[in-house]
Structure formats: C-alpha cells, structure tokens
C-alpha cells in the first residue's frame, strides 16, 4: 500500500487558537478506496482537522499534501466532495429547489459564460439517482425532512464526481431509520463506486463493520487499523474522559 500516493498526506500537523493547543503533531495518511471513520469527544479537534485538510483553516505547523500536491498548489477540488456538519440544517427560507442545490455541485467546473452542458446534466441526474431523490428535484429544500436534506447534500457533493467524500457528522436533525439507510448508502458508495470515505461520527458501533480504519482524535491522533478489535473500554474511557461501556452492534446480530 505504501507505494501508492495517498489522497491525504498529513505530517506533524498542529493547530492552536490564542495559545490554546487544539491539535498536536498529527500525522496520518488516507489512501484511495479507504473508508475511514474519525471519532473523538466534542472539542477534541475532529472538525478542525477536516477544515485544515480542506484549506479552510491554516495549521500552526506541519504540512498537508492532497493527491501528492501541497495544499497551496492543489487545484483539483472537484475530486473532493465535502458535506459539512450543518448540512441538513438548511435555512428553510433559502430559495432553492433540490435541483438548484445538486446543480451547485457542477458550478465550479463550468466556465463563466456557460450553462449546464450535457455532461453536467448527466452527472447531476446520476447523483440524484444514487441518492434516490429524483422525484424530489422540483421540491423546495426547506420543505424536506432531515433525512431527505442529507441525501440532497450528498448528491450535491457527488455531482462533481469526487474521488473522496468527506462527511462531518451530517446526522444532525436526522431520524434513526434515515441514519441507518444513510450508513448503508455510504458503505455502498465505498464498495461499489470505489469512493474513498472519511466520516466524522459518534455512531462508531453501527458502522464498525463497514469501516477499514478508525482515527481517534483528541488533540492527538491514534490510528486503529482494525476498528472492530481496537477500541477497548479503557481506550474509549481515556479518549472521552468518562467511563465507557461498549455495546457491540454488528450487522449479523440483527
């Protein structure tokens, strides 16, 4: 695996705000085709790490390479699909149909003067089919349920045909059934579409069977290559700072 160029190559990354250390000497690599989950307590730096990987925050020290290029020289942003934390909490008054939102996924690729061409339309259509929202395309996003909005946001990210999908706890305001469907969908995108997935979540038990590697972030990073075995109660307790009891929730049990 080491001979491949990683999608993300992070070396010795630190981040401080007003003298307070948020992340300290993080080094990790994410390779094409992986399904990586990132867990850790709130305020532990998970979102900050993702924001640095996407160029939204500048690290205090360390280096980030995307697809082998330094972050500052990286231009192929269409290879990366990002679904932020607040994705499903769309402003109900924002004038956007589902189609308007998914079309945004093609905006950066289009030339200034051009409208959607055939390739754009096909990509948008495919993304909506994958997310099963084709029948919702004329609906206003503000009228959808949390689960439907979540699928719309992922369809927008998929419309640019990304090689990697980064999702930051996109489950806020989403019911449990929709969440389960959503996890199944992510696993499918990873296995069938070969899309690399980086997923910040708290529901590690539910997706333990799907993920390949687990990063736990609480200022420092611990990389687990076998997530089903790796996390003991002691490790979870140390990570979250409270007494933890693990409930195994593998698929074959239900």
């Amino acid at each position: 695996m080491k001979f491949k160029i990683p999608i993300f190559d992070v070396k010795n990354l630190s981040f401080s705000v007003r003298g307070q250390k948020i992340l300290s000497h993080i080094s990790l690599e994410i390779f094409s085709g992986e399904y990586v989950a990132i867990i850790g307590p709130n305020g532990g730096g998970k979102t900050t790490l993702i924001r640095m990987l996407l160029g939204l925050e500048c690290p205090s020290e360390g280096s980030i390479k995307l697809f082998g290029k330094k972050l500052s020289n990286f231009k192929s942003w269409n290879k990366i699909g990002y679904v932020p934390q607040r994705a499903s909490l769309v402003d109900a008054n924002f004038p956007a149909t589902v189609l308007d939102i998914v079309n945004m996924g093609r905006t950066a690729q289009r030339n200034f003067f051009s409208f959607l061409n055939k390739e754009d339309k096909v990509a948008v259509h495919d993304a909506m089919v994958k997310m099963d929202i084709l029948d919702l395309q004329e609906k206003m996003v503000g009228t959808l349920s949390g689960g439907q909005r979540q699928r719309v946001m992922i369809a927008r990210a998929l419309a640019s045909k990304p090689e990697i999908l980064i999702l930051d706890e996109p489950n806020t305001g989403v019911d449990i059934v929709s969440q389960r469907n959503f996890y199944a969908l992510l696993a499918k995108l990873n296995k069938e579409e070969k899309i690399t997935i980086v997923f910040i979540t708290h529901d590690i038990g539910v997706i333990a069977d799907d993920i390949g590697r687990l990063f736990t972030i609480n200022q420092k990073a611990i990389v687990c290559n076998n997530p089903k075995e790796a996390l003991s109660c002691e490790e979870m307790s140390a990570l979250y700072g409270i007494e933890a009891h693990l409930i195994h929730n593998h698929k074959h049990e239900h």
């Binding site: 996407l54 160029g55 939204l56 231009k75 192929s76 942003w77 269409n78 990366i80 990002y82 932020p84 008054n93 924002f94 004038p95 956007a96 149909t97 189609l99 308007d100 939102i101 079309n103 945004m104 996924g105 905006t107 950066a108 289009r110 200034f112 003067f113 206003m140 503000g142 009228t143 927008r156 640019s160």
Partner: protein, 265 residues
Amino acid sequence: MLEMLEYEFMQRALIAGMLIALLASISGTFVVLKRYSMISETLAHSALVGVAVGLVAGFNPLWIAVLVAILSAWLIEYLRSSFSLYSDAILAILLSGSLAIAVIIVSLGGAFNNSLFSYLFGSILAVSNEDVFTILFFGTLALALLLVFAKELYFIAYDEEVAKTSGIKVKFLNFLLVTVVAIIIALSIRIVGSLLIGALMVIPTVAALQYRVGFLKTMFLSVAFALLSVISGMTLSFYFSLPSGATIVLCVLSLFIISLVVNKK
C-alpha cells in the same frame, strides 16, 4: 399615463429608473441571501461622501460617488475578512462615519442646499442626459458581471465554505459583488436617493422570497416587483408632485405587504 411620457425629463427618468430597478433587484437577491442587506445602506451613505466632494469641488457627483462607494465596499470586505469584527458592526461604523464626513464636507464647502437634498431623497426632475449615460454605461457593466458570475454568487450565498472547498474563488467573488453593489447604489441615488436606495435593493427580494420558489423564479419575481414599483412610483410622483424616491419605496413596500399576506401560512 401617456401624458407624462411627452416630457423629455420623464423619459430620461423612466429609462434610468427601470435600469436601476433591474440592477438593484438582481444584486439585491445575492445581498439578501448572503444576509448582507445592511451593506446597501452603508454604501449609500459612503456614496454621499462622493456626492459631497463632487458638489463642493465641481466634479460630476455621480462619478465621484461611484468611486467612493467602491473604495468603501473594498474597505468593508477587507475589514470583514481580515479582522475578527462583526459584519453588522463594521457596516454601522462606516454608515455613520460616512454620513459625518459628507455633512462636514458639504457644510465647509457651503453646498448645503437643494442640490444635496435631491441626492438624499432622489429627484426625477434632476436626471440629466449625462446621468442617463453614466447609469447606462456603469449599469450595463455591473449587470454583465452579475450575470456572468450568478451561479457562483448563488453557491457562495448558499454556503461560503462549501463553495470554497469546491474550488470557487470566494474571496475574489465577494469583492466583486460588493464592488458591483457599490456601483449600483451610487448610480441609484439620483433617482431613489441615498436614504432610500436600500429599500429598492432589499425589499423586492424579501417580497419574492415569500412565494417560496426556486432561485431563478425568486430573481424574476424580485425584478418584476422592482420594475413595477419604479414605474408606478414615478407615475404617482409625476401626477401628485410627490418625491420620487419615497413614492417608489412606498410602492415596493405595498408589494411586500401584499406578498406577505397572500403567502401567510
């Protein structure tokens, strides 16, 4: 209705007014969606500094107003992106600061007269041929820029960070939007007046938003409301000798109230 079109000054005012309605409502859509409505008020007051300089120094006030409004827009965007200041506080500071500077310049220059009054509240009588050409020239440029970058600006209004991670030049386009808004506002103060232009930029979009339709339809509705307000406002202003800016604003306000009531859940 047609009687007023026999007057040359009304023809000029209507052409200028309709172009401004188009520009204000299209740019207003992006400004409102970015939660940046107050920028129109602030830039209108900055434009007044340009008007004051123009009146006192004897230059074309409209050209100087465009220039000062652009500089003020850049300052706002720079302060917003480079310092941890609240956006609305920056707008409030620059609004009162600009007004203070304008009043001092005008009072030192002894130009505190009807001429300034017409820039505060708008005057269709005062629209000259030169004004119409200035509005046409800068207005076409501003409109072209808005239409070319419409889809990017819409994405940024929806989610600035996601737009950035998609490879859109967010910082450049934010500067471009405030520049275009500054130009449009400076051009509008002749017709609507610096104290009232904010209304023509913001209210048509807020009225259109009440219909809860997609982006393009919202923009079309906003343009329609702005055009209707300017035409009916100018007509009423002509026949009842009312100040044009205030009449236009009352018309757009009526449309807003109707939209609000019709779409009440």
